[in-house]
């Protein structure tokens, strides 16, 4: 795909809305106690998910973090099955075993989210190694936050990926915060891209709230990785609009700060861009409205889905039946 057409941008505008609204329902239902655990929302960071994932082939494999709803949806996983998983239903992507932090949709190349900060970086490199070893053309992409750069696994993986010249794209969503503490309290290193330098890993730090910027940078990065240039580290500067998890009151952030962040909303920004390019605001609102209905329907169907059968709780620990008879 070359430079997106206006039609493509409108598509992506809808994709942004679907993630925003999807997570709006997650927030609402988590607050209402209908969603177990403590889901993490990507609200405010949707442009990264859409700008990167909509350019991936189905065969490309995706790994993400605890904040991965958007990436999974943007890669094309079914909204209903994804929401059902977040609700813990039998029809969920993982039959309700995984939940918000462990979304897997293998058929769509989504090899998994993880609750371990930096936990998926090496796995993504391994998936890239498998592609390389089998002469496959797919690439591996992994999303992670700025806080993950404090973890040794991040650095070990950069070294390995560069050394083995693996087809892996590291996408850091640098939202300047980790849980309740700001980037400054985690490191003197402001930009995550600085860590790529010693390894000569190609890297770029961009405005992650501007979809066209993300799309262009991701396009370049994906092309490079796909054509054997080795790993690429794309750092997207963005902002977490919501709390760390649903229920986080964010007392550690000032009203002003939160207001400023809302000003930077990637959806509003794309709208301004498209309107400037002659698209009718009404048309865009109609797209948003359409997304709203899609999401609404998916969510309702997911909520109507059956709950897992408790008698199946021991399934999938091992490949049945060979090792089904495990002690415990």
């Amino acid at each position: 795909m070359t430079e997106p057409t206006l039609a493509d941008w409108k598509q992506m505008y809808g994709a942004l809305w679907r993630i925003r609204l999807f997570e709006g329902h997650v927030q609402r239902l988590a607050a209402a106690g209908e969603i177990p655990g403590f889901p993490h929302l990507s609200t405010g960071q949707e442009a990264v998910a859409v700008g990167v994932c909509t350019q991936l082939e189905r065969e490309d494999v995706l790994f993400t973090s605890h904040r991965g709803h958007g990436h999974v949806l943007a890669k094309g996983s079914d909204m209903q099955a994804t929401f059902a998983e977040i609700l813990g239903r039998q029809t969920g992507l993982c039959g309700g075993r995984g939940g918000s932090m462990h979304l897997v949709d293998a058929a769509n190349g989504v090899l998994g989210a993880t609750g371990v900060v930096a936990g998926n970086l090496a796995l993504a490199a391994g998936a890239a190694w498998a592609a390389q070893a089998q002469g496959k053309k797919n690439i591996s992409v992994v999303f992670f936050g700025d806080g993950a750069t404090g973890a040794g696994a991040f650095h070990e993986t950069l070294n390995l990926a560069a050394l083995w010249r693996l087809p892996v794209l590291f996408v850091c969503e640098n939202n300047g915060v980790a849980e309740f503490t700001s980037r400054e309290e985690h490191s003197n290193v402001k930009y995550v891209s600085s860590f790529a330098a010693p390894y000569d890993i190609a890297t770029k730090t961009i405005d992650g709230n501007d979809l066209p910027t993300v799309w262009a940078a991701a396009h370049e990065a994906i092309e490079a990785v796909r054509h054997g240039a080795g790993p690429y580290l794309l750092e997207c500067m963005t902002f977490r609009m919501a709390g760390h998890y649903v229920g986080d009151s964010q007392q550690y952030r000032s009203k002003e700060e939160l207001a400023e962040i809302r000003e930077k909303c990637p959806i509003e920004r794309l709208k301004r861009v498209l309107v400037a390019r002659g698209v009718e605001a009404e048309e865009l609102d109609a797209i948003a409205e359409l997304s709203k209905n899609d999401v609404q329907q998916a969510v309702e169907r997911a909520r109507a889905a059956p709950r897992p059968d408790p008698t199946t709780v021991m399934d999938y620990v091992y490949r049945a039946p060979t090792l089904a008879a495990i002690p415990g």
């Binding site: 655990g37 813990g88 309700g96 075993r97 462990h102 993880t114 849980e179 408790p310 199946t312």
Partner: protein
Amino acid sequence: MQYTFIEILRRALDEELARDPAVHLLGEDVAAGGAFGVTKGLAQKHGTARVRNTPISEAAITGLATGAALCGLKPVLEIMFMDFATLSMDCLVNQTAKYRYMSGGQLAVPLVVRTQAGAAGGAAAQHSQSLEAWFIHVPGLIVVAPSTPAEAYGLLKSSIRLGEPVLFIEHKRLYTMKEELPEDAELPPIGRARIARPGTDVTLIAYSAMVHTALEAAQVLADAGISAEVIDLRTLLPLDMPTIAASVAKTHRALVAHEAVRNGGLGAEIAARIGSELFDELDGPVQRVGCPFAPIPFAPELERALLPGSADIVRAVREELRR
């Protein structure tokens, strides 16, 4: 006065910080109050030099705390979820636990690693584990797992003053539990269990949140005319065998209950010890109640189906008595 588990941990830390300038707290977001609010306000009161946020670097902060403990500090390190103590294992096991021994007694590591474990409503496979069994297998460590706020208060203080590396395990399900703190109660010794409920027919051995499950079961059994004695281990390493032995010598029947996976869990060690040290006292096999052999699933129905509860204990005791 009444305290929640979280409030009492905060008070214990606050008092130890005030009492001993060597005490320092560190961990991810601890100066911001910590993920569960245990350390809320302590940075403001004692300064961010003594209550420090760290990067997300479990391996290095464990090493950092260990090195500081070698040099005069008494660090209290928070590992936010026990599931992530997996990232501290190298240092804890290869360095922290062995320092005194490898140095021929020249050095010690007065360090407390506070962590939070257990399942509670959809935290799922990577935020719900109970891994204490790994640590009782490591010479040089001390492992403590309190069951109530008042117990936690004294045990945390005793742990900080002990002068050995202590793994202090808090259960997320207990955090909101409230309890009266008896003033001027003296600090419980490390290494001593307590009788949480006296009884004569069967000994129920538990720790952490499972103590309450055992007490529930004991009540159900009592209503059926069965008198169960409930032992709260408090310290998992070293194990207080004298207290266990005294009880089993009286009841002749024992059951060990924990939330951790049954296979290879702490219950195995306790059952094996009772089985050998009290062989002639036993009227029946030592029962073990623990999590079946699967990761913790996300869906509430599945989680509930997997986690051991008081009904499992009651059923096991009835089986035992049917013999």
